[in-house]
Amino acid sequence: MILQTALLIALVLFSALAILLRDLLRSAISLAVASLLLGIIFFRMNAPYAGVFEISVVAGLITVLFILTIALTNAGEEVREAKAVNWVFPVFFIVFIVIDGLVMKSLLQKVPSLATAAPPGGFREVLWQGRTMDLVGQIAVILAGVFSVLALFRKRDKHE
């Protein structure tokens, strides 16, 4: 439990770093580290498939996409962020954590646990038989993503 809590705290810290750091490349890398930690948390919660997806896809592929975009767009060095943002963040963070903690404390034992029954079989049965429509949706979303990227990067005709 202590290790899990430490992992969760590190996850929040790296996510906050990803937002606070000025250098976008460093932000992208700390986001990847946060994904890695989340993947480890998933592994420790007996969800190896979700952990593998989180580490390989989110920590790997999305980081590569971010770094590619940062390289192609000159990292937006000309954008001037409001100066107060990074100063206000610690105050916001502490106030948010205190309020969050108080709300959780008041909620303790008040959310009813609904009756549940684990579905029979393993992950494969659940994914392929129980959540078939999800898979169809996933295929549709992937196709939509591919087509939209193709449409956005198509070469323009000369008369356009």
């Binding site: 439990m1 809590t5 969760l8 996850l11 929040v12 990803a18 937002i19 976008l24 932000s27 992208a28 986001l31 989340l38 998933f42 919660m45 007996n46 969800a47 498939y49 979700a50 989180e54 896809v57 989110v58 592929l61 999305i62 996409l65 971010f66 590619l68 975009t69 192609l72 767009t73 937006g76 000309e78 954008v79 001037r80 962020e81 409001a82 916001f92 948010f96 709300v103 959780m104 303790l108 959310v111 009813p112 646990s113 609904l114 549940t116 684990a118 579905p119 992950f123 659940v126 994914l127 129980g130 959540r131 999800d134 949706g137 992937i142 939509a144 993503g145 939209s148 990227v149 956005l152």
Partner: protein
Amino acid sequence: MSNTWYLYLFFSAVLVGVGLYALLTKRNLIKLFIAIEVLAKGVSLLLLSTGFARGNVLVAQALVVTFIVVEVSLVATALALIINVYRHTKSLDVRKLAKLKG
């Protein structure tokens, strides 16, 4: 629900809160997208921890995998859009998007 679930709920709320703060205050488009990613991490953590607390981690896992696939598709499309915006306006400042005409 078990007490462990409240711990996960607490941390998911912190992640969502941090992501929302950055979404509201930052101006760089890539930074805004990093904020959306942080928010998505909070959501997927909450999904899986709820399944874990109810002893039904398999369905939660299937949902998280679906969520990650949707997330990747979203990231690819949005980053392509950001590159196109940069080519148009030569800037990643979100305020300049308000001045687009035609």
